[in-house]
Amino acid sequence: MSRLGRLLPPALAAAGLALALVALFAGRPGRGDDATATLARDSLARGNRLVRRGELDAALAAYTAGWGDGDGGASSATLAYNLGTTHHRLGQLPEALLWYRRALAVAPSPNDDWLRENLELARAELAAARFEPPGLGGRLAAHPVLLTTAAVVLAWLALTLYLARRRLALSLPPAVGEWAWAAVAGIAFATWAAVFALSAWGPRPAVLLAPCGPELAAGSEVWVTPAGEEGWSVAGGAEGRSCPESVVGRVGG
């Protein structure tokens, strides 16, 4: 066996391990700890008391204080839902729509009828435009967990091929049997890296909290990409239009 053949497996494995560790310590996807979960629960209880007293504005402040980065787990999903409902009751429909979307992003439970129905009610009341994710990047960015899961599956397939490469060499052309696992490993790396690239530079869903130009009304659900100091550039719906930071409510972090 050549020297390359002996050194390549540990090199690829080390690279894959490094990518995984970067994801873990860079906080993607979501992380959470007991402190943030406790803060979210306390804020939820305080906000609910204020809502029962009819102090909706104060309740909004309490809920928002517990939201943080949305890392409070299940409590954060409830926080986001209650924020949306409270905004909804105050007639602040774009904000309500944004928080419903955030609740759905934190915990996309298919059984949460309240969340989905309130979301649809806000959409019906706003009657604003709703744009699909732009291009392949947008479609991939719309399903980050799916893309990450694909990378994980490819990693395990690469492991299987590596362990069985000698047997594969008996039944397949030797080069194919020996290096098929490396090819799959490379695809896994690329997929995993794409998740990072899309999160950093790709389009992301957003809700416009105020009109941005004549064709984008408040409450429009668009896709935006970072545009430096100009705020955000609309990538899905009215492509190329720049909207200031204050107008764009991003669904994700």
């Binding site: 839902y81 209650n82 439970s109 019906a124 009341e125």
Partner: protein, 602 residues
């Protein structure tokens, strides 16, 4: 006999009645109408009072239009009107009363007949009332209309002295003079047009008053008049008048709202009363009842015109004057499409709101309102009138949605500050959710409430799965890395142990076969597998090219030569005659194969 049509009562009275009744609840009881003539016995030229009063009933757009015929009576002056509102056990009772002064003619019977009162769509035919005109009526029944000259004493002020009409008939000499005064006052004496002015008639007395009745009321021409009922439990209060101690009590109060600017003189009020008089002399310890007729002082009111409203408020100013506030409520604030919410707008405060038009309601798109209803009126506490008027609109949402209702407001003139102000109701929100499926197909789902922290948390597995993915990605690489590192470290020996063992096992199996051809084939197949696993020689490589393949893996030439010799012997064994003895050759080839394989593996 002369027919008296009360159309002549004046347009003012009709307007007052119509506006007054317009504010009353439409669901009130049926009205009742009563008529009274007082006194029933009087002298020639004396005055009787004819009173027609309407109580309760449906007063919206009412026409209070009385007519009657007089026989042996002559009407004196215009009628006086008054209204009254009472809340008893939560029920509003309202009355409107007109009083005419009738002067008796000749001796005999004087009648008021054919009394008809039209209240709204209802007509009331009332029984005739009559009085007896006699030559010598009782003194208490004498009521003469005020005439030019000193026919009746007028009270010029606090120093006014009462007059005993019976003093000339009965010279009592030593009896004590009863000290009773009537004082009228207005507050404030200078007011804005439309501002509420309270007219109060005070009775000052140092003795007991056994009976008292009003004989003459001022007309209050130029004013909207609201009666402030006198409470029976009002205490008398000690006070001082011209250095003398008196007790005083309000005999009547009226709330006056000037209809326009100017200077107005309010005529005196005349009353008849019976006061207790202590007797002097031998019967000093006794007292007698002394009839008296008193008149109050006239008062003057100065009514100032309202200043011009500022341009931004001029369009919304409808003539309201007072200290007013505006409240609004919406019940319910959330409802289903197809249901109706009731928007109530209440204007209240000190002032006259009777004539205010229904506020304009500009609704946002998606909401419609049914015609407004009105209710309310004046509440009259002790000293002034508190107005309250409520408009209500049923609001009907035409689709699901949330609406912020426009702020409702009214512009009024605040007499205390002399400025125009705007009273605004608090903002209201209305939310309409989807109605029943069969009635609101276009609607969306209803707005669900907040989630309680006590509810079980969302058990969605997605967050946990997302958090696990990096670990799942890391694990296979960790396994590959581990295996690769172990193989690198323990490469030679452990890497070859397996194939060599299998090779030797296969050699053993091959030698066990007594057929030389099969033995040769089995040994050759064992070599094929060994070379493939150990040196990556493709399995399909013919034996004649094994040496060349091993040369690519840098195998020593002597070993390759030994392998070639072994291959030749295997070829011989495969083709050996079946009858020849091959047992020794078979064993020898197996042993050579084992040794050669171990040398190659090393």
């Amino acid at each position: 006999m002369n027919r008296v049509n009360r159309h002549a009562a004046g347009a003012l009275l009709a307007a007052l009645a119509a506006t007054l009744f317009a504010a009353l609840p439409a669901a009130a009881d049926s009205p009742t109408v009563v008529v009274d003539l007082d006194p029933k016995v009087l002298g020639v030229g004396d005055t009787a009072f004819l009173t027609i009063e309407v109580r309760g009933g449906v007063f919206t757009n009412v026409r209070f239009d009385p007519s009657f015929e007089l026989t042996n009576f002559e009407q004196v002056g215009n009628p006086a009107s008054s209204s009254n509102v009472q809340w008893i056990n939560g029920v509003t009772t309202r009355s409107l009363r007109h009083t005419w002064r009738l002067q008796a003619g000749q001796l005999g019977l004087a009648t008021v007949s054919d009394i008809r009162v039209q209240v709204g769509d209802d007509r009331f035919d009332l029984p005739a009332v009559e009085a007896q005109v006699v030559e010598d009526p009782p003194a208490s029944a004498r009521r003469r209309p005020p005439a030019p000259g000193p026919a009746m004493p007028r009270n010029p002020g606090p120093g006014w002295r009462l007059r005993d009409p019976l003093a000339d008939r009965f010279r009592r000499g030593q009896e004590d003079e009863p000290k009773v005064r009537l004082l009228a006052e207005v507050s404030p004496p200078v007011a804005w047009a439309g501002e509420q002015v309270t007219y109060t008639l005070w009775l000052y007395t140092q003795t007991d008053i056994r009976r008292i009745s009003l004989r003459e009321m001022p007309d209050f021409n130029g004013f909207w008049v609201e009666e402030i009922p006198r409470r029976d439990d009002l205490p008398t209060e000690p006070t001082t008048l011209d250095g003398e101690s008196f007790f005083r009590t309000p005999l009547l109060r009226r709330a006056l709202f000037a209809l326009g600017p100017g200077e107005f003189d309010v005529d005196p009020v005349e009353v008849s009363l019976t006061a207790r008089v202590a007797r002097s002399g031998f019967f000093r310890s006794l007292s007698t009842a002394q009839p008296m007729e008193l008149a109050s002082n006239p008062v003057r009111l100065e009514i100032r015109p309202l200043p011009a409203p500022p341009p931004e408020l001029a369009a919304d100013f409808g003539g309201l004057v007072g200290d007013l506030r505006l409240d609004a409520r919406l019940v319910p604030s959330e409802l289903a499409v197809g249901d109706a919410a009731n928007l109530e707008l209440t204007l209240s405060g000190h002032g006259n709101v009777e004539g205010m038009a229904t506020p304009r309601l500009d609704l946002p798109e998606g909401l419609s309102a049914l015609p407004a209803g009105e209710a309310g009126g004046n509440r009259v506490p002790d000293v002034d009138v508190e107005a309250e008027r409520t408009w209500s609109w049923p609001l009907v949402p035409e689709r699901p949605g949330t609406w912020r209702l426009p702020t409702l407001g009214v512009v009024y003139f605040d007499p205390a500050s002399g400025e125009y102000r705007r009273a605004e109701a608090p903002p209201l929100m209305l939310r309409a959710r989807r109605g029943e499926p069969e009635t609101a197909l276009a609607g969306g789902p209803a707005l669900h409430p907040i989630k309680n922290a006590a509810l079980p948390p969302d058990e969605s597995p997605a967050p946990r799965i997302a958090a696990t993915l990096p670990w799942l990605f890391a694990l296979p690489w960790a396994l590959v890395l581990t295996v690769a590192l172990v193989r690198l470290r323990n490469g030679g020996e452990r890497r070859n142990a397996g194939p060599l063992t299998r090779f030797e096992a296969r050699l053993a199996e091959a030698v066990a076969d007594e057929r030389p051809r099969q033995t040769a084939i089995a040994v050759e197949a064992a070599w094929v597998d060994l070379l493939a696993e150990r040196f990556d020689v493709p399995p399909g490589t013919p034996p004649s090219r094994w040496s060349a393949a091993l040369a690519a893996s840098a195998v020593d030439a002597r070993l390759r030569d030994a392998l070639d010799e072994l291959i030749d012997d295997l070829h011989y064994l495969r083709n050996a005659p079946q009858l020849s003895t091959t047992a020794e050759l078979t064993g020898e080839l197996a042993e050579r194969s084992r040794r050669l394989a171990r040398r190659l593996a090393a």
